[in-house]
């Protein structure tokens, strides 16, 4: 019954011809400025286009760029693996910390507005500003954090975090954690708050203690939201560019050269646009895969079976 009325309602709107008219501008804009470039990138990836070498003016070379990428470019694979390491480390720490904080807020704080808003600041300010703030804090001669790290013996007198080969990668992970843990906290808190009360109370009546209630009832109900958070953060972390670029520029050496920074270097420092397009395509591909998983997760969470009549 309901589906039938829904579709007749739909056609009522369609009949007037307004529907397509209303979606058209958005679709056109996106196709021209996002999809068009995507295909142009795929095309460029099959050419030898380079702004640095006049003889390479866009001749078609088939899959040579991809062949080179796969076989003869250790720098690409280094940056790719480094990015994966960055994503896994940063996102898992953010998740554990963020969830723990969300749980504490949920359990113990009655008026959450002010607290969560304060926690939000790191993730809302521009990533460029985040990069600069931490560059100042970690500055070798007068950085505030540098000073206190030296004081407690975490850092030797003449070393600086961002130029130390041992510390620079942990540092960019830590700063990503600083910036994005609040996001996990916020979303998980929303998830906890929307949990239906009655299954939890039912578990209390069934004799479960706090730990079992958490593991047996809350965690399964939160699964879709957990999947969402992990994927969203995973996609974003994989694309990370701004703050690492500002803080280290990928250095020292290539120790923090994430794959998007590598792609930037190939394209806009070496001006090797054909090959750069191939690199950019690889980044896009990974994101697209993560993205389609994310989409499934959204539908999973939208259509998840709720406990019968469960309400919050």
């Amino acid at each position: 019954m309901t589906t039938r009325t829904a579709s007749t309602r739909g056609t009522l709107l369609l009949d007037r011809g307004i529907g397509p008219l209303l979606v058209l501008p958005a679709t056109v804009l996106v196709i021209v400025f996002l999809v068009g470039p995507f295909y142009y990138m795929m095309y460029t990836a099959t050419t030898d286009l380079s702004f640095a070498d006049a003889s390479r003016n866009g001749n078609f070379i088939g899959l040579d760029n991809f062949r080179k990428l796969m076989r003869d470019d250790p720098l690409f694979w280094d940056s790719f693996l480094l990015t994966l390491k960055f994503v896994v480390l940063a996102v898992s720490i953010e998740f554990l910390l963020g969830f723990a904080l969300a749980f504490l807020i949920f359990k113990f704080v009655a008026r959450q507005r002010l607290l969560t808003t304060l926690l939000l600041i790191p993730m809302m300010i521009a990533p460029v500003a985040v990069g600069l703030i931490w560059r100042l804090l970690l500055q070798g001669d007068f950085g505030m954090v540098t000073y206190y790290m030296r004081k407690v013996g975490l850092l030797s007198q003449n070393a600086a975090v961002l130029s130390s080969p041992d510390l620079v990668f942990p540092a960019i992970v830590a700063i990503d954690v600083w910036q994005w843990t609040p996001f996990v906290t916020l979303v998980m808190l929303a998830g906890l708050m929307s949990l239906p009360r009655s299954p939890i109370e039912a578990a209390m009546m069934d004799g479960a203690g706090p730990l079992r209630i958490f593991l047996d009832v809350m965690l399964p109900l939160l699964k879709p939201i957990i999947a969402l958070v992990l994927l969203l953060r995973g996609i974003d972390a994989f694309k990370e560019f701004d703050k690492v670029f500002i803080m280290t520029g990928g250095g020292p050496g290539t120790l923090t050269e994430l794959v998007s920074i590598y792609a930037y270097r190939v394209n806009f420092r070496n001006w090797d646009l054909g090959y750069g397009a191939a690199v950019a395509f690889m980044v896009y591909l990974v994101v697209l895969i993560l993205c389609s998983i994310f989409y499934k997760a959204i539908y999973w969470s939208a259509n998840r079976p709720t406990p019968l009549g469960g309400h919050s």
Binding site: S198, P199, E201, M205, L308, G310
Partner: protein
């Protein structure tokens, strides 16, 4: 061994007072129904007994032991929730088995208990399903099975039938009564439906604004309601009531008089149930005439809505003969032993 509420109060953080010093005591094995309109505190009373809410005053004893400070899991009480509250990610079997798993009962015994309870409730065929694949009635049975499988001494039910359709509700009602007879546990059942209370309870506790108004067998609550509120709440259609005053053995309402020998002078509210009003011939001397407004046929009876001046009443009569026309005069008699008198200020029953 009994269950005792001793001056239990509950004021919520937002200032709402749900219970005002509730005193209530009943025995093991009873089928107690907490009855009242919404906001009467019946659900709060149930949740306080469950341990889901902490009372702000008073204490609760079970078998002489003070359980007020105990968490729910240590109280030995099972509960059926209004929306069933099944674990949507677990199978029906695992839902029912959960209280046993939590108590680390051996596997074989869990298997046996769940099967037995499922058979008792006729859900043996659905054990492998997920709650999302069950009908309302089946989900209801699973919830009952889960609440009872671990043999708690007390089983609480918070409006368990209100989400079922009418026919299923009648069916489950009978089923619950049978279950109570077979298991001999204490059932505490919360409802706003007076018919459920009448049919299920060994004793009914009527609550209003967080206070106990009457606590007695359904028959007594119906026949000797402790107040005008109880009188109008129990029985459908509700009891007819008239405000007026007594002078010299005569009750005088806005538009009619009736002899009430033995009642002291002063303002009272007089009540009579619709089915106890007698229809008499026009020739009868001790009768009062009302004008018919609307007639509803609720087979096998009919409800006659009638008025006389500012006074309205409902008569329930067998539908044997043809119904009176709109505007016809109806001659009514109020048998003396069917009359209830209530204090016009406090609403309390006058003896």
């Amino acid at each position: 061994m009994g269950i005792v509420f001793e001056g239990v109060s509950k004021i919520f953080p937002d200032g709402t007072a749900a219970l005002h010093g509730l005193d209530l005591a009943f025995e093991t094995g009873e089928f107690i129904v907490l009855l009242g309109p919404s906001g009467s505190g019946k659900t709060t009373a149930c949740r306080v007994l469950a341990g889901l809410e902490n009372p702000t005053g008073g204490r609760i004893l079970v078998g002489g032991r003070d359980i007020t400070a105990l968490p729910p899991r240590l109280r030995g009480i099972g509960m059926v929730f209004q929306n069933y509250a099944l674990y949507s990610h677990k199978s029906v079997f695992e839902n029912i088995a959960y209280p046993l798993r939590v108590r680390k009962i051996p596997r074989a015994e869990i298997e046996r208990s769940v099967k037995a309870m499922a058979d008792l409730l006729q859900i043996g065929r659905y054990l492998h399903r997920k709650p999302g694949q069950l009908s309302g009635g089946q989900a209801q049975r699973v919830a009952v099975a889960r609440a009872l499988v671990w043999q708690p001494d007390i089983c609480l039910m918070d409006e368990p039938l209100s989400n079922l359709d009418a026919l299923l509700r009648l069916h489950m009602r009978t089923e619950l009564k049978r279950l109570h007879r077979e298991l001999r546990k204490t059932f505490v059942f919360v409802t706003h439906d007076q018919e459920e209370a009448m049919t299920l309870a060994t004793r009914v506790a009527v609550l209003r604004d967080g206070e106990l108004v009457q606590f007695d067998t359904p028959q007594t609550v119906y026949r000797k309601p402790a107040s005008r509120f109880v009188a109008e709440f129990m029985g459908r259609p509700a009891m007819n009531t008239f405000d007026g005053s007594v002078a010299g053995g005569k009750f005088r309402a806005a538009s009619f008089e009736w002899a009430v020998p033995g009642l002291p002078d002063g303002p009272i509210t007089l009540g009579i149930r619709p089915e106890q009003i007698e229809l008499v011939d026009a020739s009868a001397t001790d009768s009062v005439a009302f004008e018919v407004d609307v007639v509803e046929h609720v087979e096998p009876d009919m409800l006659i809505f009638a008025r006389r001046g500012a006074s309205n009443l409902i008569v329930r009569a067998p539908n044997g003969r043809r119904g009176p026309e709109h505007g016809a005069l109806l001659h009514l008699r109020f048998p003396p032993d069917a009359l209830h008198a209530f204090d016009s200020k406090t609403g309390k029953r006058l003896p």
